[in-house]
Symmetry: D2
Subunit: 149 residues, 4 copies
């Protein structure tokens, strides 16, 4: 009976603020993408051990998003406490795929499948993940339990 | 030889501004969703004949997005002139589906498939499109030529 | 020798994220206003005891900003840990004035003097602060030590 | 009787969009700063003849804002057509000061006094305006009529 949180799992809590809401009083959907991006940013810092700033400065790479699929199930309201539950799913030669479910209490608000790639600043094209990043990600995935979609 | 632009087609040009760009000098992807939303907003005004404000005030409905699938093919840079080419694809009981391709010159920068739904402000749930909106959308689709995906 | 933090003082820490930065790699100044607004939002919750949402729902007022004076002294960079130090300065019939200094370590990054007013949702005009808000603010100011500008 | 528009005057029209509005249905004030910045950006392109991108690429300078004073007189609503009327007021060794009045019809919505400075990318400090920029700005100001504050 292992209740440990798998290594490929991460939760980031974000509160809905005035700046996120539209005239209907609910989160304007482009603002969710700032929250999703911040969740990925925080995962890199806490689990992979490299912040976006360190990726830029030390490894000269940036990790833009190349594909997102998002389903918005329920609206979110001012001051809702949103739990962004990220699961790292797959590493490719230069890509990485995440599944993020955003919940508020028992309700799932949205689900996103995000793929990003590793781009070299100088070459301005996709490159294989630097070894130090790849080995860290593979360790995370090796330790991961299988979570049903 | 009909060269007319089909009724379900709309183009909105938006220039990449300082406010859209990130430290890598390219458009930060959440900003694209503001641009995509504006494209849909402008289509409602120019083709359907109801602005978002009029939908709220006169028909008491709002049209949140419930699903988006986006592929980002190439980065966009400061002052790029982006053509957002929208194609209205399908109407459901209370939904509407668009396909938007964003191009800069010969290059496709991103592609999005967007579904939105008609929500009643008071009931706070999905309702069938008001007749005046539905008849207008059906007229647009009837006039449309078939465009391959 | 009273080292207690005066009641009219509040600090909110915010980290500079990718979403705040421009192509020069520094915070794009309009993003600072989201951070300043969030600082005021958080002060209302923690010190006045009413969140913006509760102001809307329970008291039918909103508190828009009517004047800001801002000096930007130094640039902020990705992942800087910014301390927004708010000082509540003055209450008027329907106004409230704050002084916010944003620091990173020993460096002052910016300073803002913000005035907001209490607007009634229905009347759509400035109204005197509701008694429950006014008495709370006056208690905070009465307890406050004098802080030199 | 000279009715010509003075050279130091520029107007940029921007429509209030869904993305600018808050739960009170009015423009969220941080969004005004994106509009103000865009007005300055457009003035540089059309009157000074250098876009922000060209300033970066060709002259290796950036022009961050160092001071803004803003008075918000009236709220703006979804789909309002806002006229941002910019007046270039003064050039310093490395600074530039603008006065921008935002109007909707007969109503003044806000007024901002903005000072920006010329920063060298490499030195990361304020530098005198490059000659080509200074001579252009001085020509604009020489031609300017006096406009009362």
């Amino acid at each position: 009976m292992d209740e440990a949180i798998p290594a490929n799992f991460f939760e980031e809590v974000q509160t809905v603020r005035f700046q996120h809401c539209d005239p209907a009083g609910i989160v304007f959907y482009p603002r969710y993408y700032e929250m999703l991006n911040l969740t990925v940013e925080r995962f890199f810092e806490s689990h992979i051990g490299w912040s976006f700033h360190q990726l830029h400065m030390d490894l000269h790479v940036t990790v833009p998003t190349v594909r997102i699929e998002t389903d918005f199930f329920e609206a979110s309201w001012l001051e809702d406490r949103l739990q962004f539950q990220l699961r790292l799913d797959r590493i490719g030669r230069s890509s990485l795929t995440f599944n993020i479910s955003c919940r508020c209490g028992d309700e799932e608000r949205l689900k996103a499948i995000i793929t990003l790639v590793c781009i070299d600043f100088t070459k301005k094209k996709a490159v294989p993940w630097p070894d130090r990043i790849r080995s860290r990600i593979e360790a995370i995935l090796a330790n991961a339990v299988t979570v049903p979609a």
